[in-house]
């Protein structure tokens, strides 16, 4: 039973994403959320397999974000591919900026910077642009 759940994303998270884009009074049945869970896992597996094949043909051992964007495009999911390419680009920009910040403030507490790995610095416009802080779904996203 536990193994089965390992292959799926948590129903609460899936349900939350579904709820976000529906009107307030919309209801979602449990079976609908369960079906969505299965669809998402299949989506991840499907795209990963394609990306993995590409890596194998190119004799690369490590699957990266570009491979995923490529796989999305190859599988006809062009809209997703375009959005993800932009997202990936912004993410890499953000990571680069973080590294530069690290170098500049190497004498400051390292764990403070580490806690910003996923962009929890509230006054950084780059993060808002990147879109990480747009979603209000996670209560652990610190704004102050």
């Amino acid at each position: 039973m536990v193994e089965e759940q390992d292959k799926l994303l948590p129903i609460a998270n899936v349900g939350r994403i579904m709820k976000h884009i529906l009107p307030r009074n919309a209801k979602i049945s449990k079976e609908a959320k369960e079906t969505m869970q299965e669809c998402v896992s299949e989506f991840v597996s499907f795209v990963t397999s394609e990306a993995s094949d590409k890596c194998r043909k190119e004799n690369r051992k490590t699957l990266n974000g570009d491979d995923i964007c490529w796989a999305l495009s190859t599988l006809g999911l062009d809209n997703f591919s375009e959005v993800m390419s932009r997202y990936l680009h912004k993410f890499r920009e953000f990571e680069r900026q973080k590294v530069e910040q690290n170098k500049a403030s190497s004498n400051e507490e390292k764990d403070e910077v580490t806690s910003n790995v996923f962009g929890l610095k509230p006054n950084s416009s780059a993060l808002l642009e990147f879109g990480i802080l747009e979603k209000g779904g996670s209560s652990s996203a610190k704004r102050k």
């Binding site: 390992d6 292959k7 994303l9 948590p10 998270n13 939350r16 579904m18 529906l22 919309a26 209801k27 979602i28 049945s29 079976e31 609908a32 079906t35 969505m36 299965e38 669809c39 998402v40 299949e42 989506f43 991840v44 597996s45 795209v47 990963t48 397999s49 993995s52 094949d53 890596c55 194998r56 051992k61 490590t62 699957l63 990266n64 974000g65 491979d67 995923i68 964007c69 599988l75 006809g76 997703f80 993800m84 997202y87 990936l88 993410f91 890499r92 990571e95 507490e109 764990d111 580490t114 806690s115 790995v117 996923f118 929890l120 990480i132 979603k135 779904g137 996670s138 652990s140 996203a141």
Partner: protein, 115 residues
């Protein structure tokens, strides 16, 4: 001064239930990726993050389409059949057709055995 929990919470990517600013647990996404194919051995740190966003878009896309079907049926509860119909009527989700048909079939056979 170290803040206990912050670092480990982010590294674990959601094992403890915390997912940071992402809506989906990265560790779980990574697990699904690894199970998809025996060839998948190493994954860069950005890969689950890319998938986290892609899955979000994916869920939103199907949900929007499913909800249109719900509305056409003059209902306010999005049900499993609406999700199945959304998948079947969208070309790019062809790879899911068997999956949604299978779950519809297994429900049917469950109802048959109960009766």
């Amino acid at each position: 001064m170290k803040r206990p929990g912050t670092y480990s919470g982010i590294l674990s990517g959601g094992i403890s239930g915390r997912t940071g600013p992402h809506l989906l647990p990265l560790a779980r996404i990574k697990k699904i990726m690894k199970k998809s194919n025996d060839d998948v051995k190493m994954i860069t740190g950005e890969a689950p993050i890319v998938f986290s966003k892609a899955c979000e878009l994916f869920i939103e896309e199907i949900t929007k389409r499913a909800w249109n079907i719900t509305l056409q049926g003059k209902r306010r509860t999005l049900c499993k059949e609406d999700v199945a119909s959304a998948v079947i009527t969208t070309d790019i989700f062809d790879f899911l057709v068997n999956l949604v048909s299978d779950s519809a079939k297994s429900e049917e056979s469950q109802l048959t055995t109960k009766a």
